[in-house]
Amino acid sequence: MNRVKRTLAPYLLVLPGGLWLLLFFVVPMVTMFSLSLQQGDIVNGYVFTGHWQTYVDAISNYQTQLIRSLVYGLITTVALVVMSFPVAYWIAFYGGKRKSTYLFLILLPFFVSFVLRTISWRQILTDDGMLLHPLKEAGLLSPGFHILGTSYAVIFGLIYNFLPFMVLPIYVALERIDPRVVEAARDLYAKPLTVFRKVVFPLALPGVFAGVLMTFVPASSDYVNSGVLGSSSTTMIGQVVQAQALANSNYPMASALSFFLMAVLLTGVFIYARVLGTEDVMNAAAR
């Protein structure tokens, strides 16, 4: 009896988490993977045929959009690290009693729907809108000048929409740094820049890592920003997936593209983790 209990105990303990994982991760993933290998059409149904050709087609037809998505995601992520670090640093070390107010202010716009916020930027950036119209009237810009529909507009939208996902984890990491460590560095005659380089930045790295993970992946697969702010020359892979799944009911193609994108992103994340020397990726992200 006792032995049975002892052997079963670990399995029982794993059960809730395991079930959760099975229900919300394994089942959808397997279904999607299965769909990517099926053939047919929406009227007659799709049948599993192990059709790997879909992957070949997906990559050869949409490599431009795949590469573009990764490039946009990368630019967005780098820009976000550069922009968010000072903000998080300032709040963590100089925010004083108002720290939570500042964090709240960063989050405030995000109480409005993602799509609505993006559409609002469309209103601001549009050709005869409040930003460009006065400049054109004043003769500072040529009448044909536009921002909307360019890569700049899309990347701008991505940066805007993912900002808090970078600021918050970096803030959390910085906040946790013991001020005495910094003091100690100063006592040992380290210059401010050296303190930052040798002490603060390495200790904030897990936060940066988490931030990169939380922005690069969704930014690369986003389809709202490129749809609303972009044009047909800024199409991202998320838009292709959306069009294939919803407009064409071509579920195998949509699944294959999603699966391939996921594989590329995971590979990228693990290489990044290796380079940073973070042994346990998820642990670093959760810290």
Partner: protein
């Protein structure tokens, strides 16, 4: 006794190899259809309608901006019949709508709506071929029989109105801002004119886009085949590569025109009329010399509807002349009831001031009541026989909008 026990890893691996294949194959997407069913079995109508009774409510799924927000017609319907209407503007695009309701209809479950308005697009064929549409009992549609224009009883996508009757029709043509273009726009070729480089709007919907490519290449969408599609795609690619097209739009083209993002664009007739009225703009809408397209949004009853009798009563109600008239007065799309024109003129005579002007405009508008000359220039959509043909069509035009 010392036989090596099967390790946990091995067990997983062994079990996995065979089980995974079976499991993967089991996760399919159910379809419902067979081949094209342009006609139905003769007893299908009786089979569907026998034993169905009025229940006192209808759940109605429609597109946004397709009825006066105060819904005067629905109030009148409730007063007259006692049937409550739950009106929801849930349909935004045909593809996503089909994708959303397909699993429920395939499983024979209710989609929560007894009436839905769907366009004569690719998805109309998908709905019909999957057997998702209830055959209509025309003995319950006396007003339709009496008042519908003959044109709308012989539509290619549903000959004899077996599954559908029109809600409203519309024209796809060109809208432009005369202040920006500086001249009149009369033809499709203007969408290829280098003078408007980067100021042209096209539709992202592959069918709408293809139609204009076909017409611009001198081809007819209605009886086009694969070779024609390739020619049309080449024509559209040329327009894109020359930098003519600012973007491929969904409904947001109206906004883009208003903000000066585009000067001339593919457009739907009623939108431009409404935009001019509500925002005081002065945009023009034309049917191009080379031709435009006409489409129809249709009342249909899903086979799983809980209240089909109430739904078909509501359909017929909109074919009473007064109701068709008030609807057209508000939405300004092509009205399938010709007698409504006289009714609107009567309403105009009774009105005064601004209302009078507006009503007169609606009654005289070729966009609401096109004349024979207008109809002659209007073409129907591309017809598809098989699902492969549809996919093929999509894959020819997709590289233009998704690149």
């Amino acid at each position: 006794m010392t036989q090596r026990r099967l390790g946990r890893r091995d067990a997983l691996r062994l079990g996995g190899v065979s089980a995974l294949g079976a499991f993967l194959a089991a996760c399919g997407v159910q379809g419902k259809g067979g081949t094209t069913q342009a006609s139905v079995a003769p007893d299908a109508v009786a089979k569907f309608w026998t034993g169905k009774a009025k229940n006192g409510k209808v759940d109605f799924a429609n597109w946004p901006l397709y009825m006066d927000p105060k819904k005067p017609e629905l109030k009148k319907f409730t007063e007259k019949t006692g049937i409550q209407v739950n009106y929801q503007e849930v349909i935004q695009e045909m593809g996503p709508w089909f994708a959303k309701v397909q699993p429920q209809l395939s499983a024979g479950q209710s989609i929560g709506f007894d009436l839905m308005v769907i366009t004569n697009s690719l998805q109309f064929g998908q709905f019909r071929n999957s057997g998702f549409l209830a055959p209509l009992d025309h003995s319950k549609l006396p007003n339709f029989a009496k008042n519908a224009a003959p044109k709308y009883t012989q539509e290619a996508f549903d000959p004899g109105n077996v599954f559908s009757i029109p809600w409203a029709s519309g024209i796809t043509g060109i809208a432009y801002d005369p202040k920006k273009t500086g001249r009149e726009i009369t033809k499709l070729a203007d969408l290829w004119d280098p003078a408007f480089k980067g100021k042209v709007g096209m539709f992202s919907d592959t069918q709408e886009l293809a139609n204009f490519g076909l017409l611009a290449a001198g081809l007819k969408p209605g009886d086009s085949g694969e070779d024609d599609w390739k020619k049309a795609a080449a024509k559209l690619k040329e327009q894109k590569d020359a930098g003519m097209v600012r973007n491929y739009y969904d409904q947001s083209y109206v906004d883009a025109l208003g903000k000066g993002e585009v000067w001339l664009t593919q457009a739907w007739s009623g939108d431009i009329f409404q935009k001019n009225v509500s925002d005081g703009t002065n945009f023009k809408f034309i049917i191009p010399e080379e031709g435009g397209t006409i489409w129809t949004d249709n009342f249909t009853i899903p086979v799983t509807a809980a209240n089909p009798v109430d739904a078909i009563m509501l359909m017929d109600f909109f074919y009473e002349v007064e109701n068709a008239a008030t609807l057209a007065e508000y939405i300004n799309y092509v009205c399938p009831v010709p007698a409504a024109q006289a009714q609107i003129k009567k309403d105009a005579a009774a009105a005064s001031g601004e209302d009078k002007t507006l009503l007169t405009q609606v009654a005289d508008s070729p966009l609401v009541f096109p004349g024979d000359a207008d109809y002659a220039k209007l073409h129907y959509y591309v017809d598809f026989d098989t699902a492969e043909e549809q996919q093929n069509f999509a894959s020819i035009f997709e590289p233009i909008t998704l690149s």
